[in-house]
């Protein structure tokens, strides 16, 4: 009974986990994150990368098919649309609008939604009741109709699209963060923090928030995918940016009309949209797994 193990840290697993290293080993994060990084580079450097002016029309080379097909125009890798504009260049410039909306709209929705969610989840009573009822009422509106209505009221343009997405989608963050916060607030470490007299704000932001962040990041990347789709829908119905700025949604709308003569005008932006949304979803999934210290074991 006198055996006592030496007081060392030998029984502890001791290498602090390098979060970056873990992320680099997750194939989902690497592939999806790499694709999104590529999209960002392409969007930022669009004028340098795009082989043609996305607005330059040439009716003589209209509806030329993508490279490799009969009658393809050299230099127009994804073919041209009904006005002879280069599809590849339009996709590249269209990424600018999609990504701007994705990051800005999802970012603000996340900020507003999670602040309200943290408050509702931890302060309880009145704050909880007011915010939760607000979310319930909000979510009763059909989202697409609401966004079209909002843009119609606010006027078209990038700002309106972003505002519409933020106004509608903050509830997603609010609900999830509220539930997660309530669960975390029951944990022993929160009780321990209360027992040493931390203020509510300190507990909320220092203790609870770090445990909500993994869920939040997953939700944020998912929301970016949703924002890309919503922007495309609004462009499709002509409520997004003005028609002289190329957008994927606008291209889909144009391509739809000539799909029988030139399928690539529809297929190319659809593929871009699809790839971007899948990448955002997969990245969210991978990040949630890699960032959660408990799942991380």
């Amino acid at each position: 009974m006198n055996y006592e193990p030496p007081l060392s840290t030998a029984d502890a697993v001791l290498r602090p986990p390098a979060v970056a290293g873990r992320l680099a080993r997750d194939p989902k994060v690497v592939v999806a994150g790499g694709f999104i990084l590529l999209l960002i580079i392409v969007a930022v450097a669009a004028p340098l990368i795009a082989p043609h002016d996305p607005l330059a029309q040439n009716l003589l080379t209209a509806t030329a098919p993508p490279a490799g097909f009969a009658d393809a125009e050299p230099g127009f890798w994804l073919g041209t649309d009904g006005l002879g504009r280069d599809v590849l260049s339009r996709i590249i410039f269209g990424a600018r609008v999609s990504l701007t909306v994705a990051f800005v709209a999802a970012g603000f929705a996340c900020l507003i939604g999670s602040l309200l969610g943290l408050m509702a989840g931890y302060l309880g009573s009145i704050a909880e009741a007011v915010i939760s009822r607000l979310v319930d009422i909000w979510m009763a509106f059909p989202p697409v109709l609401l966004s079209i209505l909002l843009v119609a009221v606010l006027g078209t343009g990038l700002h309106s699209v972003i505002a519409a997405i933020v106004v509608i989608d903050w509830t997603r963050f609010c609900r999830v963060v509220r539930t997660e916060t309530m669960a975390q607030a029951q944990m022993d470490y929160v009780v321990a923090a209360r027992a040493i007299g931390f203020t509510r704000a300190a507990i909320l932001f220092r203790e609870i928030l770090p445990n909500v962040v993994p869920v939040l990041i997953a939700l944020l990347t998912l929301e970016m995918g949703i924002a890309v789709v919503v922007e495309a829908i609004l462009s499709f119905v002509g409520l997004s940016v003005s028609s002289d700025t190329p957008t994927w949604g606008g291209m889909i709308a144009e391509g739809r009309q000539i799909v029988h003569e030139a399928w690539w005008v529809l297929a190319a932006p659809l593929a871009a949209l699809f790839a971007a949304v899948v990448a955002f979803n997969q990245l969210g999934d991978g990040l949630a797994r890699s960032l959660d210290p408990v799942l991380r074991r």
Partner: protein, 296 residues
């Protein structure tokens, strides 16, 4: 009176969830400066409720219905939330029960230990970090830098409890509430942790309110103890005296239930039925008395 650090007087509580069942029945106890006071009893005896009441973290389904908790002459139950917050972490600290859940899983030990030192002791980030390192050395952690850089799940249970003890005593409180601090640990680690608490307590002159269901543990560490059953104090006194000549039948039953290495054929005796009957009668009589006092 000036020597008294903590004095609990006639503390009563009921459970709102369970038909207003009483869970503390006019409990009184005193903790002197530099004294370790143990509260023992089986689960449901109300030990933890007392600890939580002192810290102002009584769960919502429990309501304190009477009594007072005086800490150095101030009634904690009458303090405003802000005043209590100022006192907690500076004068009173907690060593929690389960080291597996009492540390924040998402934050490094470093951040968790320095938080208290910065917010409650006003240290700078650098000072706090140095202090945290010194504290870990004081609880005999050999490689404090690596522990500081770790997440809780990377440490063993005993390590985590050392971290929590270091955090609590590191705030240099006058009173430490230890709520079953060794229950979640295995026996060899338990011994080390008890020795650690005792040596820190002696070195800093801290008073400790030590809650446990384990008489063996309490006997090792406490100067005085309070034996409780169903929220009522059964017996109180110096540890040696209570253990060697228990006055109450329940204390004798508790002692008989404790296994003894020196007499392997004894111990593990269940509480005898006649003792249980007498206990229930005692509790019922007390409740009757309380009701009569209430109604006039």
């Amino acid at each position: 009176m000036s020597e008294l650090r903590l004095s609990i007087t006639a503390l009563s509580a009921i459970s709102l969830r369970d038909g207003n069942r009483p869970i503390l029945r006019r409990v009184s106890l005193m903790v002197d400066v530099g004294e370790v006071h143990g509260i023992v009893g089986e689960s449901g005896a109300g030990k933890s409720t007392i600890a939580k009441a002192v810290l102002g973290i009584v769960p919502t389904q429990v309501r304190l219905t009477g009594g007072r908790i005086d800490f150095e002459g101030r009634n904690l139950l009458a303090l405003s939330a802000n005043d209590l917050r100022a006192l907690l972490g500076r004068d009173i600290a907690l060593v929690p029960q389960d080291p597996a859940t009492a540390l924040n899983p998402s934050r490094r030990i470093d951040a968790q230990m320095t938080d208290g030192l910065r917010l409650k002791r006003g240290l700078s980030a650098r000072q706090a970090r140095l202090r945290a390192r010194a504290l870990l050395e004081e609880v005999q952690i050999r490689d404090p830098d690596r522990v500081l850089a770790s997440y809780p799940h990377q440490l063993s249970g005993g390590m985590r409890q050392r971290v929590l003890i270091a955090s609590a005593f590191g705030l240099e409180p006058k009173l430490v509430i230890a709520d079953e601090p060794t229950t979640a640990l295995d026996v060899t680690v338990q011994k080390q942790i008890l020795r650690l608490i005792r040596s820190l307590q002696e070195r800093h002159g801290t008073s400790v309110l030590f809650v446990s269901h384990d008489l063996g543990v309490v006997a090792k560490i406490c100067d005085r103890l309070t034996v409780m059953y169903m929220g009522k104090v059964m017996e109180q006194g110096g540890t040696a005296k209570v253990l060697s000549s228990p006055q109450h039948a329940y204390t004798r039953a508790l002692l008989a239930a404790n296994p003894r290495y020196d007499r392997p054929d004894t111990g593990l005796e269940p509480t005898p039925p006649e003792v249980l009957t007498a206990l229930r009668a005692e509790i019922a009589a007390f409740d009757r008395g309380a009701r009569e006092a209430e109604h006039g």
